[in-house]
Symmetry: C2
Subunit: 297 residues, 2 copies
């Protein structure tokens, strides 16, 4: 059966969003499944697509925007396979295991790359050539979309593990990363904030010092992204970014770090239109997964 | 006159290398001109190409690999124009001013992007998809070649201005960068080393502490490049890299910073074949300039 529809999966750390959509991206059926082990999760994925295809028609391509680490190199024999994730049961699991039966090409990318592509097409990145989407949440990661495709090298980027300047007098916390201690994820992710202060940054909004401290680490990432990618816009999403005053503080500290060195109309007169929140909110991931499938059509 | 040859310029801070080459890159004529003001330099460029073209034939395309900051966006009306360089006379100068008279397309990129492309084609980057070339010299800069083209965003990258962790107890030197003080260029460039110790790193080879300190800053850049670009190889060139023991120390400290987090055969078992010196030596720049012109053929 020659398909005409798109199957999309946003595979997050806590839930999967599954959707069947038209080639143009209109969603015909949609559900959510908790992220348990593949043995529990994949049958639910199979059931959803089997049922949705029966109701709406066959799939021409699948797009998957997934948590990682995962092999996203289309030339690799392990394309679509989780590598060394600590999540029980997922190391070695492969999206092809559940999707290949439907006989359509499968495009797999990371969740942040998917969100970057979604924002580039339909969100806060419209009109950009190069766009960096960063999530500051349970983890920290960045996807970069250029002309609607994600950039990668031999693997996807891992911006959360950059080691920022860390003033131990101002912030004696040693960090939570099991590999690096005080890398960005170890200092500024949601779990790092909870471990350091016993509360979320949202709950710490009355203490401007906490927001300023976290903003400084995020600004280190923002300025590194500017200097190593010169994107047309930086989008910061994820749960931590919802803390009041944080994005304003990130703009201010990024400007202070760059100190006028990078001259371009995009960065002039404050960074209000350069460092922004996502335009698609919670739909960036599934929009990106649909866009990934569209690349295969 | 329809040309069949390539005109190439490697425009460095102290000298220009000019070459006329075949389409295949064989150099037919070559000279060097000191980098004075454009008023002094451009007539010499004009004379060389006029004479070489008379002897060998017309040019089909020019390639220029230049110091910066310079507009390298082919879609920009100021493409090929120096922006805010402190070099006397060069702000606002444009390579088209001297080359347009020859009636061939002109491809302009940065010196490090040119070197990256040169190394990718004929040097230590052969066989790579994505390659990062960094110079540690009078300044610090990185060019990234992907499938023989340089990557850029709204402008070329400026890796030298990343702010690395700086332990003031171990290194009380405040840095030399007029914009950022202790950015990478302010701490680890040739002039920063001279200002801090009154000698070049070469001359400090007997003091392993100096080499280790500089290697730490370079390793911060190396690990940031891995995490934000995942290149297939990192090449480090420039005068500072000639100091004995430096590249070995950079490999060691980069491995320590990444601490096994990025798992890939390219990084396994030491970084001897991952972090390397240039394969073309002093010819990377002009080879890159020729490769830039080849893009227009």
């Amino acid at each position: 059966m020659q398909g005409n529809l798109i199957g999309a999966i946003e595979a997050g750390g806590t839930k999967f969003i599954l959707a069947l959509a038209t080639r143009e991206g209109e969603i015909l059926a949609r559900t959510r499944v908790p992220t348990q082990t593949p043995a529990e999760c994949f049958p639910a994925v199979e059931d959803f697509f089997r049922e949705a295809i029966r109701a709406h028609g066959a799939v021409a391509a699948f797009g998957v925007a997934s948590f990682g680490p995962i092999d996203i190199d289309p030339a690799s024999p392990a394309y679509g396979t989780f590598t060394t994730t600590p999540k029980p049961g997922w190391s070695g699991a492969r999206f092809h295991d559940v999707l290949a039966q439907f006989g359509a090409p499968i495009v797999v990318d990371t969740d942040v790359n998917g969100a970057a592509i979604g924002e580039w097409r339909k969100g806060a990145g419209q009109g950009c050539v190069t766009l960096a989407y960063t999530t500051i949440g349970t983890g920290i990661g960045t996807g970069i979309a250029r002309n609607g495709r994600s950039l990668m090298g031999f693997s996807h980027y891992e911006s959360g593990h950059i080691l920022p300047p860390h003033n131990h007098a101002a912030d004696p916390f040693g960090g939570t990363c099991p590999y690096h201690g005080d890398c960005l994820e170890g200092l500024a992710s949601g779990p790092a904030i909870e471990r350091r202060w016993g509360r979320s940054l949202d709950q710490l909004a009355g203490e401007p010092g906490a927001v300023a401290l976290v903003a400084g680490y995020i600004a280190h990432l923002a300025s590194s992204l500017v200097l190593l990618h010169m994107p047309d816009r930086l989008i910061f999403g994820g749960g931590v970014m919802k803390a009041p005053g944080l994005i304003e503080a990130v703009r201010q500290q990024t400007a202070a770090k760059l100190n006028g060195y990078v001259r371009h109309p995009r960065l002039d007169e404050g960074l209000e239109s350069y460092i922004v929140t996502p335009g698609l909110g919670d739909d960036a991931g599934i929009t990106g997964a649909i866009a990934l499938a569209q690349q295969a059509l």
